[in-house]
Amino acid sequence: MIYLYIFTGLAVAISLVASRGKTFNAIKIAIRRFVNILPAFLIMLILVSIVLFFIPDEVILNYLGSDNKFIGVLFATFIGSITLMPGFIAFPLCGILLTKGVLYMVLSAFTTTLMMVGVLTYPIEKQYFGANVTIIRNTISLLIALVVAVITGLFFGEIF
């Protein structure tokens, strides 16, 4: 994270040295873009805060550890799609799930949908790409996640 600040600081400094006017222009663009998308972000944050309340870690643990592995994968896909978590929460959680005996293919479905399918980021994605493309992209991502889960299962010998 700290590298991001250093990098941004350096970029602004170099830009200021090269041209003051262009730098101010850049900041103006940055602010305008940010303000434009802010309402969509706010909606997403509201959705995230509510969904996470209804799906706490214990629930995830319960459903992903299901005895039927295909039901486990389906639940993982569903929960991964409708939630949003930063990696530093998601992967330690997966580490715990793994020690509790949750299958790799279930975790793979969970992490891949978590990263690629964004039901909660829909307001933001729609603003940039329109509703149709957003739905198509998310559907494709969901299918990719399922393929990845099945292949993970094959490699870890969990399917047969």
Binding site: M1, L4, Y5, F7, T8, A11, V12, S15, K22, T23, N25, A26, I27, I29, A30, I31, R33, F34, P39, F41, L42, I43, M44, L45, I46, V48, S49, I50, F53, L84, P86, G87, F88, F91, P92, C94, G95, L98, Y104, L107, S108, T111, T112, M115, M116, G118, T121, I124, E125, Y128, F129, G130, V133, S141, I144, V148, I151, T152, F155, F156
Partner: protein, 171 residues
């Protein structure tokens, strides 16, 4: 005012009122939700200002021709390679990738490259992949990347070409 705007305002203000009332009356779930909201907002506020400043700098300094050459219609396979490389260094997640992708598009990147960038920044950000491998093992991460990345590229090409044929334009 548009109908969508009104719905948004109603939604956001009723949410705010719900949180305030929860805090006053000590309603547990409401407090929990507001804590979730707070921690996530903070997480994004750490990243978003930098991301948008970099987007601003990108839009003022980088020439359209440069992006067209490396990410545009005539970029060939290298366009996808550049998109994945750029995605590997993207921070945050999809919510940062969307505005970046939009800027790339405005500078002349083609749609299939844009979708590759979005997909890749979801699945193969380098710091995240390292973190993942440390919890779930290298084998897991390697399988995930090797399977999903080619699929992302292929589906992005299909979707990009389909939309280009349909004359789809971002607004």
């Amino acid at each position: 005012m548009k109908r969508g705007t009104i719905i948004r305002i109603v939604l956001i203000s009723s949410y705010a009122i719900f949180l305030i009332v929860s805090w006053i009356s000590g309603f547990g779930p409401g407090k929990e939700i507001s804590r979730n909201f707070g921690s996530f907002s903070l997480e994004m506020l750490k990243i978003l200002p930098c991301a948008f400043i970099l987007i601003g700098l990108f839009e003022t300094w980088v020439k359209t021709e440069t992006i067209e050459r490396h990410f545009g219609e005539k970029s060939g396979p290298m366009g996808y390679a550049w998109a994945i490389l750029l995605a590997g260094t993207t921070v945050g997640g999809l919510y940062v990738a969307f505005p970046v992708a939009y800027s790339l598009y405005r500078k002349g990147a083609k749609l299939s490259v844009i979708f590759t960038y979005i997909g890749a920044s979801a699945i193969c950000r380098i710091p995240m992949a390292i973190f993942e491998a440390s919890f779930l093992g290298i084998k897991f991460t390697a399988i995930r990347l090797l399977v999903s990345l080619p699929l992302v590229i292929i589906t992005s090409m299909l979707l990009g070409n389909y939309l280009t044929r349909r004359n789809y334009k971002l607004t």
